[in-house]
Amino acid sequence: MLNDMIKTDILIIGAGPTGLFTVFEAGLLKLKCHLIDSLPMPGGQCSEIYPKKPIYDIPSYPEILAGDLIKKLEKQIEPFQPKYTLGESAVSIEKTKDDHFIVTTDLGTKHMAPVVAIAGGLGSFEPRKPPLDRLAHFEDNGVNYIIKNPELYKNKKIVIAGGGDSALDWTIFLEGIGALVTLIHRRNEFRGALDSVDKVQKLKNKDRIQLITPAEVISLEGEDKLSSIVIDHNGNQFSIDCDYFIPLFGLTPKLGPIANWGLEIEKNAIKVDNTLDYQTNIPGIYAIGDVNTYPGKLKLILCGFHEATLMCQSAFKRIYPDKRNVLKYTTVSGVNGFDGSKKEAAKSTIKSID
């Protein structure tokens, strides 16, 4: 069983800016990193919530888009060959006899490391669920928040609710698969890529989909399986047949199972020792970035970078208690990638003048 596990030096939970930069600082100390993130791509909130928003307080960048910041961080850490488990959430943690940690995801992927760095931001992203009676009852019995297996929808009556890109994109995608796709949104305006809005408009014009706006799903009907839904359309209430209801109202971060790992939690954040190394009450588990709290805490990306740097020094001492370590400057030592790449300052030319 041990052989099936992913092994690394620092297991980072959360691939947002703080988690990504940890790979760099760890790499300078020759420590390998593996990152787990519930989202399918790195970047955390910067990718999921505000990729197109400018950030003005990253030192030396007068202005940078959140999405571009992530791209640059990925580029910066490339030499240190980080590995990822994406689209999975860390669910449980256990300690081995030799002081290592085993972290298991919701899909059962196991990771082992002597150090765990929780850089989980506000938590893992979960679908925002509409407040409908019996919603939980119909989950996986007609109500889905993610489309995993398109085959499932073949010749079915599908209702999608939402007004953003994912609602538009899935409407376009499922139109060719389902028997009837209905898109419901609370208003007539959609906020999504113009191209997608155009496509949905065309599908509607050709009667290939049914568009009901401004409208809202107000209740779900059926026994064990969903059979129909009730819609309020401008005050008019009516029921339509429905095999699958897919509410797509975006994602929201939830601290989730990490809250039950025995870590000291205060106001939805993990308490750490900010006088030293951002370690939690469990030695070997650190918390850095927006997920932690201490007196004077500021939830800023630049503070996360600082916390990651100090944390990596402490992790090194934990992994190699007998090794001497001294801070190296990249201007002096350069960056020696695990891939064999080497970045260093150009040697100054020395030439005599006759």
Partner: protein, 107 residues
């Protein structure tokens, strides 16, 4: 003249809070709630991109109109009423002295 105004806020348990809010440091209602450690998450930091600071305006103060972004977010939020606003989009100005607001339910 004092630069502070008073906001009457009712939390999710129905408890009233009298918030003293400064008008001279560009704060918004979501930030005032956070500074009083009220249960307002402010997940997106104030970009009108989440609805964790949704509240209902219960006094007849005239507020600045909803921006397109706020409108779009509220159209995807839950428990939305006619008097729903995102706290992060309500600037603390002398005009809203005495404002009465109620926090919307947690999602």
């Amino acid at each position: 003249m004092s630069l502070d105004i008073t906001i009457h806020l009712i939390d999710r348990k129905g408890i009233s809070h009298k918030l003293i809010a400064p008008t001279d440091i560009q704060m918004n209602l979501m930030e005032i709630c956070k500074s009083y450690e009220l249960p307002v998450e402010g997940t997106c930091g104030g970009m009108a991109m989440c609805a964790s600071c949704q509240c209902y305006i219960e006094s007849d103060h005239i507020l600045t109109e909803r921006s397109d972004e706020e409108d779009a977010m509220l159209s995807e939020a839950f428990h939305v009423k006619k008097n729903s606003r995102l706290g992060c989009q309500i600037q603390i100005r002398s005009e809203i002295d005495g404002l009465k607001v109620r926090l919307a339910p947690d999602e």
